[in-house]
């Protein structure tokens, strides 16, 4: 298979030949930053498209002295020039030369080369000027390019004079791999391999001429870190809501802060009932009292507590205190919402059959643990009709569980002040076992009687948090209200299509 090369890599391949080229030469030829060029070359060698030869080479370089001579002329050259201008007394020459050291060198080498002779303080040329110049030029040629071809004697002389010095260096040379046929290289260079498909490519149709690099994905787990998301538990509650809508339920809400009248009295809980104590009901601080606007309802409830009113009940046989009824509490059960709903339908739609649902918060001073919270949601429902039985109540509770994939359910009798018969349903949690989650019953005549409501009312207040725990396989109720953002973001989706 051909190697897919990018444009930069191709540039380098094009510059390589069958013969070795020095790295420096390549650097000059190829317009790429040095580090990139070197890494591409290394890559090509690795991929066996190029060969590398490394060797040590000797070469000559100018010494500091040599460099100076190259710039300012050789001392003997300068000496000859001055002599040639007509000065020949040693003393005068010394003055002209300034640097005595250089003067001595000049005299030494001019004498050694047999260009001059010194007689009685005077210097005189003994060789033809043209020959001297030729000799000087030879030296200067060496200084200019010490590594060109020069006579061995001259080089030795200059080495001796420490004008030039012999050094060693490593050199890297590259050539195309001799095993790779020309054809393959040609093809490789013609292959148009691209990283990205650009709008330009699409518009011009050039994408037809190019091939695009394959994407390589790694096995490393790397989900996106930042994204928006609706809350998974609220999404689950929406599914429950949709299921109930499909069964013909209408949604209804009531305030979170309510009067004990609606939370308790109307639900036939005697005013000294244990579930009305400070361990079961959050009360609002300050001596604030609400208003019971429906006076006739208040009268009916009072009568029913005392002697059952016209409901056929004995009642609780005590005198009920309005002041307690007006206390503000945080709703402790969504049955309180049902109490408001009954007030509404008994007045507005007394002859209509209805199904009401409400998924809302409740509060109780419970100690928090895996299955208890001081703030929790119930899925409240009431169904009114003329021929409703306890079987129908079990039917709705079962259906709601089934609709969210909970199939293991069992019922036992229960006790709630406002329903008779009462049912307490349990669901099987995959880890926690049987948990109580399905309280319900048929509203007592003492409850419906307060509104003079004639139909049978099935009622339940499902512990929907616990159902969610079983459906979503969560074993701590607090995880539904998690304060860990990462947990919230990665909360498993409820697969309602199962």
């Amino acid at each position: 298979m051909l190697l897919e090369l990018n444009e930069k890599q191709k540039k380098v391949v094009r510059a390589l030949t069958r013969n070795y080229k020095d790295l420096n030469e390549l650097k000059r030829e190829i317009d790429l930053p040095e580090n990139i060029l070197e890494s591409i070359l290394a890559f090509l060698v690795e991929a066996k498209y190029a060969e590398l030869e490394q060797k040590i080479e000797k070469y000559y370089d100018l010494t500091i002295e040599g460099k100076e001579y190259y710039q300012n002329g050789l001392p003997e050259e300068n000496l000859i020039k001055i002599i040639n201008s007509g000065i020949n007394s040693i003393n005068d020459l010394k003055v002209k030369f300034k640097d005595l050291n250089l003067f001595n060198i000049a005299i030494l080498w001019a004498k050694k080369s047999k260009w001059i002779d010194i007689k009685a303080g005077k210097v005189e040329l003994i060789t033809v000027l043209a020959e001297i110049e030729k000799a000087i030029n030879n030296i200067k040629e060496v200084l200019k390019n010490p590594n060109e071809k020069h006579s061995k004697d001259l080089l030795n002389e200059l080495l001796q004079r420490k004008i030039i010095i012999e050094k060693e260096r490593k050199i890297k040379r590259f050539r195309l791999n001799s095993d790779t046929p020309d054809e393959e290289i040609k093809k490789m260079l013609e292959l148009e391999n691209r990283d990205e498909l650009t709008p330009e490519d699409i518009k011009t149709g050039n994408w037809r001429n190019y091939t695009y690099k394959k994407y390589i994905i790694t096995d490393a787990y790397n989900p996106p870190k930042y994204f928006g998301k609706t809350n998974a538990y609220l999404d689950f509650l929406n599914i429950v809501r949709e299921n109930l809508l499909a069964l013909g339920f209408e949604e209804f809400y009531s305030p979170s802060i309510d009067l004990e009248f609606y939370n308790c009295d109307i639900l036939f809980m005697p005013q000294d009932h244990v579930a009305r104590g400070i361990h079961d009901l959050f009360k609002i601080e300050g001596n604030i009292k609400g208003t019971i606007e429906n006076k006739s309802l208040l009268q009916n409830v009072k009568q029913i507590h005392l002697n059952g009113g016209n409901t056929g009940s004995t009642g609780w046989k005590y005198n009920f205190n309005d002041d307690i009824s007006r206390n503000l509490v945080l709703r402790s059960q969504t049955t309180c919402t049902s109490a408001h709903f009954l007030e509404y339908i008994s007045k507005e739609r007394p002859n209509e059959d209805v199904k009401m649902m409400c998924i809302d918060l409740n509060w109780r001073p419970d100690t928090r643990d895996r299955t208890h919270s001081f703030e929790f949601r119930q899925c409240e429902g009431i169904i009114t009709g003329d021929n409703l039985s306890i079987k129908n109540l079990l039917g709705f509770l079962t259906e709601i569980c089934h609709s969210i994939g909970i199939s293991e359910i069992k019922f036992m009798p229960g006790y709630f002040p406002f329903t008779e018969p009462s049912v307490s349903g349990y669901i099987k949690h995959p880890k926690l076992g049987w948990i109580e989650a399905l309280p319900g019953g048929i509203f007592r005549p003492e409850v419906c009687g307060a509104y003079n409501f004639k139909k049978t009312v099935l009622a339940y207040g499902i512990g929907i948090d616990r159902l969610a725990m079983a459906a979503l396989d969560i074993d701590d109720i607090r995880d539904l209200y998690s304060t860990d953002l990462e947990k919230v973001k990665n909360f498993k989706i409820y697969k309602n299509w199962r």
């Binding site: 928006g228 609706t230 009531s254 979170s256 601080e285 509060w363 039985s389 129908n392 008779e420 990462e486």
Partner: protein, 579 residues
Amino acid sequence: MILEASFNNLKKYLKKEITFEELSEILFQLKIEVEKQFVEEEEVIKESEEETIKDKIVFEITQDRPDLLSLPGIANLINNFKWNKKPKIDYPVKKDEGKEYKIKVGENVKEIRPYIAGAVVKNIIISDTVLREIMNFQENIHKTFARDRSKASIGLYRFELLKFPLHYEAKDPIEINFEPLGFDRVMTAEMILKEHPTGIKYAHLLKPYNKYPLFYDDSKQVLSLPPIINSNFLGKLEPDDEIPQNVFIEVTGWDEYIVQKCLAIIVMDLLFRGGETYEVSVEYPNGKIIKSPILEPIAMKVSLKNLYNYFGEKLSIQKIEKLLNKVGYLIDSKNEDEIIVKTLPNRYDLMHEVDVIEDIIIAYGLQNLKPEIPKLLTKANQHPSTQLKNTFRRIFANLGYVEVLNYMLTDENILSKNIKNENANYFKLKNYKLEQFNVIRNDLIPILLEYLRYNLNNPYPQKIFEIGSVIRPNPRNYNCCEELLHIAGVVSDSRVNINNIKNEMDLLSKLLSVNFKYIECNNKICFEGRSFKIMVNERELGYFGEIHPEILLNFNLKMPTIVFELELAQLFPEFKSFI
């Protein structure tokens, strides 16, 4: 209500062998939960005799059945239910030839603790275990049915030592002195209320009065100081494994019905144990004489039509009778439309025919009923607030916010000190359990800032929102408050730009086809010059801004943070309420 008992003792009353699993299964159907707190016999390593019950089982009894706090009471029910033993409901109240057991009530208890009722139970073997059970039963009734003795209080006495008639009168505390139960010295009423553990516990029941009720016999021996404590002599039963004993029982309280019911509950427990009861008469100052205990079976009329309706199908009368017998009732009379049933006098929960219907359903067994969805055509309707919430949830999730879910209850500091708002308007709970959750939120932003505090070690940017109720006092409403639907978001990162939120608000206004106007405001939690009110027509919808560093530090936050909060009702004034 909890009853702790010995499994072996229960088996003694049952007069049958039963495994714990069988027991648990039966009781589950009778709405009693039972838990085992012992290991099976073979696993027990014999240790020295201890006071604690070795084969302890714990029953959880529902509120409506104080009669089942009695262990023989439970055994009686199981015998009816499991082994079809015909219920015995007639327990005669006998009269001793030529003797009258009378309690004379003084005028002055009327304002303190007006009612008293008594009973004599004879020929009962009170072994050590039985005594412990009776005391336990009495205490359980005190705690639950009698609401910590405020509704009724019970006393048991050694009948042989009493000189009749007995007297129930209010006395000056300083005149009262006797040896209270558990103490071997004479104490005044005041001392008892201050020093005796039971006296300290129940002192509040007598403290409001100048005089205290005293129960004493005709030779001035004190029986008890109701509802506090018995005498250490007359009121202390001694166990005896062989010789049957006679016991006198008294109940005092504020409500005559409750007092009689309480007495019936206690007496029935002793009768189940083999005792027989004798009549006591109470003479009130107005001359009225009331006889007790009242053990007349309770009679209830049940319409068969209603029974069938609740049941969901017809049952034969023979079947109904069988079911009734299983749960302790006898049919007294019947015709085509209704039956009259009778049961034991210690039942407190029979107020209406539905209570009997429930018992029939229990006897039938919920597990034998087939769940059925009725054919009932009704109109479904989603509440507008649900639709509204879902719309906003989608919009903000799509804008990259993660939706979080916080409690409505929070820490008072979060709504006041942390956001430098000392006059914040919120409700506090009278009986909160944790400081961390002692107030009801009135805004969402402080809650979301607190949320960020929990996530200091999680990656940034953190972009979260929440939609939900906030509550503020409002005396104009029947419940003294208004509950508003809010949405709020916060964005926290090393660099934030308020324009991002402004752009999001622009988008929102475009999607909703509503014009938003932004007016600079000086929100206290925001950096000066960096907060803006959002106006819709003339209504204030909310605001957005950058949180002031001082506020950030109050929440321990180190990253710049921008926020918005909207009150959704302001967008849709046509809706009166979203709850």
